[in-house]
């Protein structure tokens, strides 16, 4: 049987989940209004020293599940 493909970020629940995380911890400021979701994921991956893919890969998804402080990781 063909392997079930994982949906790309940009669709459905995955997108909502990553957007909620990014909005909370890597919020958009006036200067960065036009950043795509891919650029925002890259910013998060840079902060956590992950492989920069711009995609919601396993490594990135794992970070999102870890217990953490509620303050944003970037400040205006």
């Amino acid at each position: 049987f063909p392997v079930q493909l994982r949906p790309e970020p940009g669709t459905g629940r995955d997108l909502q989940k990553i957007k909620a995380y990014l909005d909370k911890f890597f919020p958009i400021f006036t200067k960065t209004q036009n950043l795509s979701i891919e650029e925002r994921i890259k910013e998060m991956q840079r902060f956590f020293h992950l492989t920069i893919t711009g995609k919601l890969d396993t490594e990135t998804e794992k970070i999102m599940t870890l217990p953490r402080c509620g303050l944003p990781d970037v400040a205006e």
Binding site: H49, L66, P67, R68, C69, G70, A75
Partner: protein, 168 residues
């Protein structure tokens, strides 16, 4: 390390703190002790001094709460967000809130109150998140033995940039 925009910091070295609510996970004495030791992490390397007050206003107000708790930043139940604190300033500035839906502990590997409080008080004093893995101000929680805790160099540099080194 990073500081907050505008580098807010306390303009005095004698700061007061008040614990206004407790978790039922730990005896009050253990909470008091964890908070005191967490503040000492920072006062050991700077000229800052902390005095506990029991009534009236305090620079750093500390409490446990669940979900929406009056500051517009609701907690999210067990896991994920453990706590948050506000940068130095009047009113809510400096205050530290802990999510009471977590299972707090003083010694074992549930969420260790001392470690989280030490991180949050870094915010109360003006440090933002560090992207240095292993730094106290790294945003993700990881357990280490509180008995052998030493403030990492990145955090020490950050706090001493704001307040200077401890004078003998």
């Amino acid at each position: 390390y990073q500081t907050f925009p505008g580098t807010p910091r306390w303009k005095k070295t004698h700061l007061t703190y008040r614990i206004v609510s407790y978790t039922s996970d730990l005896p009050r004495k253990k909470v008091d002790d964890a908070i005191k030791r967490a503040l000492m992490v920072w006062s050991d390397v700077t000229p800052l001094r902390f005095q506990r007050v029991y009534t009236g206003q305090a620079d750093i107000v500390i409490g446990f709460a669940r979900r929406e708790h009056g500051d517009g930043y609701p907690f999210d139940g067990r896991g994920n967000t453990l706590a948050h604190a506000f940068a130095p300033g009047e009113g809510i500035g400096g205050d530290a809130h802990f999510d009471d839906d977590e299972k707090w502990s003083d010694i074992n590997q549930d969420v260790n109150l001392f470690l989280v409080a030490a991180h949050e008080f870094g915010h109360s004093l003006g440090l933002a998140h560090s992207n240095v893995r292993g730094a106290l101000m790294y945003p993700l929680y990881s357990y280490q033995n509180p008995q052998t805790f030493r403030l990492p160099a990145d955090d020490r540099r950050g706090i001493q940039k704001l307040y200077g080194k401890k004078t003998s």
